[in-house]
């Protein structure tokens, strides 16, 4: 059983209500069996039908009560499951935003989206099933059993004995099936992925001239997949076979036993019929648990996975430390000053430093280039400066205020961030540009469109700036996406801009044009531009050269060239490489 289950809010009243309903339900099951048996045996004894109308109505009443109880149970469990699932999802989402983009990248976007969407519905399904199943298992068989014992001890003994046998067999077969599946999991995984793998690699196969003959491979592998699946199913279905087999067999044994004792005259017909009607009902709760087993297991795991995200330790500032800062508005003007002293980032303890002992002193507006070989820590420094990442060592000072990191909303409100592949939301072009400033007027958006060099694109679209772009809409080229991000930044009018390798993947002509646009937009801002493209450097006011997480050199292009140090070597190495 799930230990978390009792911790969910509102579980206690739900469980209490469901238990009560189940109790009423088991009573009505006993009564309906009894009354139907009485009617049948009376008719059998030759009593006229009209004397039985009362009993028949009572049977129908009990029958309906039983199902109405089930109806209410489902309603209550659904409401509880829906509430709890929604609150778990909400907590997970909130936590995801607080953990930030780094965590999302690490976990994989697809995984997270599936977990939040599919996971919630699986978890909801689990809750919806588990509450009535638990209640059913813990009440119905025992009430029925007690009643049967009161009627006919022999049948009671048969039933009470068959339950543990049934459960033991189910568990044994379940374990055997799992072992069997695990043993061939690897080859099974390959077989089941083969088709989608082939489709994704179709272009490659075609280019290699192998695509035609591969269709026979598809047929062959699909056939092997079928055999492998059937081998697994033969074992997997055994556990429900065992369930079926022992249930039906017990019912049959009970029936035959009843018959024999009736022949001997040890038993009244009405008792025999009651027990016969009750016998399948005795097993019904177990069978339902068995048939929902996989669905509940999936849901339980999904719930645990989400709980794990919620329990993930936060990298953010301690709340107390934050509280003071959040109140005060931060600002960045030409007189502002940001100091980093001894800042280091280590993703794992004992692991390598992504940043080590970084000390910087940044004043006012200006363009700052961050350069270095790949793996030198350029992106990590941008993440620290953008407030996505809390350094594991060192401290910072912003206009004389000490803080251990920049991961505060107050700082983030001053910044815009343009990554290598800016994300385009599936929304209109105008709304994408308005992202940082949702209330901006159309005229302001138009101005941003013009400034970012998007006018031509916007005029070319059938609906202009109202055209849907992004996933499910019109796809933009890499250069166009960068321009949308630039327009976003321009419209937001925030004083600090962070760019991480914004042009490296673009074709040279697009890069050339984009550079001219960017340089214009960089005026009167504090810009951090991390790149390995050297051509940016002469346009920068200050260059930070990183090497293996450390600041190797700081200075202007001319100063660094004259010094013939790390920067000079970097240039030389790129020159020789080609």
């Amino acid at each position: 059983m799930d230990r978390n289950l009792l911790g969910y809010k509102g579980i206690k009243p739900t469980l209490a209500a469901v238990l009560l309903l189940t109790l009423v339900q088991s009573g009505s099951i006993v009564l309906l069996a009894r009354w139907l048996a009485e009617v049948l045996s009376a008719l059998f004894a030759g009593e006229p039908l009209h004397t039985q109308y009362n009993k028949l109505t009572m049977f129908l009443g009990a029958f309906l009560v039983r199902h109405i109880m089930g109806f209410i149970q489902q309603k209550i469990s659904y409401a509880f499951a829906e509430r709890t699932g929604a609150s778990l999802r909400q907590q997970t989402l909130e936590k995801l935003f607080r953990l930030g983009p780094r965590f999302a990248k690490q976990e994989g976007t697809g995984n997270l989206v599936t977990l939040v969407l599919e996971g919630t519905s699986k978890f909801r399904n689990y809750l919806e099933l588990i509450v009535p199943r638990m209640a059913g298992m813990s009440i119905i068989p025992w009430v029925i059993l007690v009643y049967i014992f009161m009627q006919d001890i022999t049948s009671g003994i048969i039933l009470i004995l068959s339950m543990p046998i049934l459960i033991v067999f189910m568990i044994l077969i379940g374990l055997a099936a799992r072992k069997h599946t695990e043993k061939q999991l690897d080859s099974y995984r390959t077989l089941s992925n083969h088709f989608v793998d082939s489709l994704r690699g179709l272009e490659t196969l075609k280019l290699l001239g192998q695509s035609r003959s591969h269709s026979d491979t598809i047929a062959r592998v699909s056939d092997r997949y079928r055999s492998a699946t059937m081998r697994t199913l033969r074992v997997a279905f055994l556990s429900s076979f065992a369930l079926d087999f022992f249930t039906m067999l017990s019912v049959a044994v009970v029936a035959v036993g009843l018959g024999l004792r009736l022949v001997n005259g040890d038993l009244a017909l009405v008792t025999g019929l009651t027990v016969l009607i009750l016998a399948p009902e005795y097993f019904l709760p177990v069978r339902m648990v068995g048939s929902d087993f996989h669905a509940t297991l999936d849901g339980k795991e999904a719930g645990a996975a989400m709980q794990q995200i919620i329990d993930e330790p936060l990298q953010e500032e301690a709340a107390a430390e934050n509280a003071g800062l959040e109140k005060k508005e931060l600002n960045w003007t030409k007189d502002s000053r940001l100091q980093l002293s001894g800042v280091g980032v280590q993703h794992q303890e004992e692991g390598p430093h992504s940043l080590n002992e970084v000390t910087l002193d940044i004043r006012g507006m200006g363009k700052i280039g961050i350069i270095g070989a790949s793996g030198a820590g350029k992106s990590t420094l941008i993440d620290v400066l953008g407030g996505f990442l809390k350094p594991s060592a060192g401290s910072m000072e912003l206009d004389g205020r000490r803080m251990s990191s920049l991961t505060t909303d107050a700082w983030r409100r001053l910044t815009t961030y343009i990554p290598q592949h800016p994300y385009i939301f599936s929304s209109t072009l105008a709304d994408n540009i308005r992202f940082y400033a949702p209330d901006a007027a159309n005229s302001e958006v138009e101005h941003a469109v013009a400034a970012a060099g998007l006018s031509e694109l916007a005029h070319g679209l059938p609906l202009g700036a109202e055209e849907i772009i992004g996933n499910g809409g019109r796809q933009l080229s890499g250069g166009q996406a960068q321009r949308v991000a630039l327009a976003r930044a321009f419209l937001s009018d925030r004083p600090v801009m962070l760019l991480d390798e914004p042009t490296a993947h673009l074709d040279i002509e697009t890069e050339y044009e984009l550079k001219q646009t960017m340089l214009r937009l960089f005026e009167n801002k504090l810009v951090f531009l991390a790149t390995h493209r050297l051509h940016w450097m002469p346009d920068m006011d200050l260059i930070i050269v990183l090497d293996q997480g450390r600041v190797a050199e700081i200075g202007t292009h001319e100063e660094l060239l004259a010094r013939r140090g790390a920067y000079y070597e970097l240039i030389q190495s790129q020159r020789e490489g080609a």
């Binding site: 049948l40 008719l43 030759g46 983009p101 001239g209 598809i218 087999f245 035959v256």
Partner: protein
């Protein structure tokens, strides 16, 4: 294209199996029902206290048989039905593959949204349910319906007709009402889910933007509102499912009463013996249980629609575009081999291309001349016509005007056999979920192990591969973490080496790699491609000095061409671009 459905043809193919499955399904229900029937009979008979125990011997045996039989038959039925459905899946897969295969080179440009291929593969997986959850249970219920009514008719035709009408509520009315009531809602629910999916993807992929903009709470509020709306619709569906269940049960309860009344009257009239009263009444429960799943099966129908729709559209689109993909090779295998064995002279003469008369020109008047061993670079922004030009050279498209020929043979005539003349290394070559060695062997299926090792050594991967615990037999999916972008390209390059073709097309293989990796990979490519003709589509000028000709394309035309030295001397624009790309040459004297 033939308009064949995705469901019916398989029923035709496997009708024998289908019959067996239906028969087994009915038998499962029959044994369960007969267990209750004979039990009821046995007990009643025993209550008459027959002189001899042998009088109840037959029912005793039957009760035991049915008790054991139901589990066995059900087990067999499940296996047989899954087996048949998996056979169908295999056929569907081959069919989908054959539909997609001719247009393989156009898939990425045609389905830009997300992972269309993954979706299609899931669709086929999902269509299993059509048979397992809808067709089989419904047909079984129908057969049981007819069977049990017929059996009842044997006793009393009028009552049988009455029950037929009554049970019709369960078998047809309730499912039909259910389908009618939920159709629109399930569709709405599905749309809501896909919208939530898009929103959530936007949230996770664009998280840095949400965080920086400080609009997280705004997003969460909007998202939760949509989730609530989806939950409301879902709740309505659930509510109907509960009501349907309750109505169904009420019908069952009433039919038990009806049956009791009828059996009592029949007995009173002397038409049936007393021993059958309990039997008739008890059998109602298991039989009615067979009809309950029909509503559920019917409600599922709308959920198959989108999968079927997608598959149909793909098939229709394949028919439409079929003409573009060259199908039959015009020349024999021997001729292609002969061509590949000697020097190949690739000529593109005044080629223009547009998809149809109404669309704008994708390429206009482009000419290339590549005697064996010449290396050219093609540069241009996206949409300049580079990919179209490559497709013409690969023979996947036929020019609207002009000719593409290899040593005088028309490219479209070579068609399917082109991979034996021209190799392609593109931006994201697929590494298949098999061993490292098998991935390399895709270049030449008959390659010996030492040839593979030699190819790996040439692309400088031998040390890395040999350091893996399983060496060349390491499964690729386990190396997903270990192989970087550059290393993956090297595996693809090893394939190209095994192909050993005279002409090689490099379609931006270095995009997304960091400069160091890019330079190293480029050096390896140039080193291993000695003597081969190279057509290198690139986005910048690294390595341009090593090319015999550099071609700048814009809007489907050649804007500028010449060797590096010529362009440096003659073109201001080229000098600007080169300075942007290789500033170090100007920075350090």
């Amino acid at each position: 294209m033939r308009h064949e459905g995705w469901l019916l043809p398989y029923v035709r193919t496997y009708w024998g199996r289908f019959l067996i499955i239906i028969a087994l399904g009915c038998l499962t229900l029959l044994t369960a029902s007969m267990l209750m029937f004979t039990s009821g009979f046995l007990i009643s008979k025993a209550a008459l206290r027959p002189e001899n125990i042998l009088m109840v011997y037959v029912p005793i045996v039957l009760v035991r048989t049915f008790g054991i039989g139901r589990a066995v038959v059900h087990y067999v039925e499940r296996l047989v039905s899954h087996d048949a459905v998996l056979r169908i899946v295999a056929l569907m897969r081959t069919r989908l593959y054959r539909i997609l295969e001719p247009q393989a080179l156009f898939i990425s440009s045609r389905f830009r949204t997300g992972d269309m291929l993954g979706v299609l593969s899931d669709d086929i997986q999902y269509l299993q349910d059509v048979y397992l959850r809808t067709v089989f249970p419904s047909v079984v219920a129908l057969v049981m319906y007819i069977g049990s009514i017929a059996a009842l008719g044997w006793f009393d035709v009028r009552f049988a007709l009455f029950m037929a009408l009554y049970v019709f509520i369960l078998v047809a009315v309730l499912p039909w009402v259910s389908l009618l009531l939920t159709k629109a809602k399930s569709r709405l629910s599905k749309q809501q889910r896909s919208r939530l999916y898009t929103r959530l993807t936007d949230a996770v992929l664009g998280m840095s933007d949400w965080v920086i903009s400080g609009r997280q709470s705004q997003f969460l509020a909007a998202y939760e509102a949509e989730e609530r709306e989806a939950a409301r619709v879902n709740g309505q569906l659930k509510r109907w499912a509960r009501w349907r269940q309750l109505i169904g049960q009420a019908v069952i309860g009433l039919s038990v009463i009806t049956m009791t009344v009828w059996a009592a009257r029949e007995y009173a009239g002397g038409h049936i013996p007393a021993t059958l009263i309990a039997a008739f009444v008890l059998v109602v429960f298991p039989i009615m249980d067979a009809f309950m799943p029909v509503s559920d099966a019917m409600e599922k129908i709308p959920s198959y629609q989108s999968s079927l729709q997608r598959l149909r559209e793909i098939e229709a689109a394949a028919g439409e575009y079929g003409g573009n993909g060259s199908t039959a090779a015009g020349i024999s295998l021997e001729e292609v081999r002969r061509l590949a064995a000697s020097d190949v002279h690739l000529k593109v003469q005044n080629v223009s291309f547009r998809y149809d008369d109404a669309s704008p020109w994708s390429l206009q008047d482009v000419s290339l001349d590549l005697p064996q061993g010449k290396r050219i670079a093609i540069i241009g922004r996206s949409g300049a016509g580079k990919s179209t030009l490559l497709k013409l050279i690969e023979g996947a498209l036929a020019p609207s005007a002009g000719t593409v020929s290899l040593s005088g043979v028309d490219a479209s005539a070579i068609g399917e056999r082109m991979p034996q003349l021209v190799s392609v290394l593109n931006q994201s070559p697929h590494l298949f979920d098999t061993t490292v060695a098998n991935n390399i062997r895709l270049g030449d299926r008959d390659a010996e192990d030492d040839q593979i090792r030699r190819a790996a050594a040439q692309v400088k991967l031998d040390r890395l591969i040999e350091s893996l615990p399983l060496g060349y037999r390491t499964p690729m999916h386990e190396t997903g973490q270990r192989f970087s972008g550059g290393e993956r390209q090297r595996i693809a390059l090893a394939r190209v080496l095994l192909q050993n073709n005279p002409v090689v097309v490099l379609d931006e293989p270095t995009v997304g790699l960091d400069p160091r990796t890019e330079k190293e990979l480029l050096a390896t490519i140039l080193e291993t491609m000695q003597g081969k003709s190279l057509i290198w589509v690139t986005h910048h000028l690294v390595g341009a000095e090593h090319m015999d000709e550099i071609i700048f394309m814009e809007n489907g035309r050649v804007e500028m061409r010449g060797s590096h030295a010529e362009l440096m001397a003659a073109s201001e624009r080229y000098r600007n671009l080169y300075r942007l790309d290789r500033p170090e040459a100007f920075m350090v004297k």
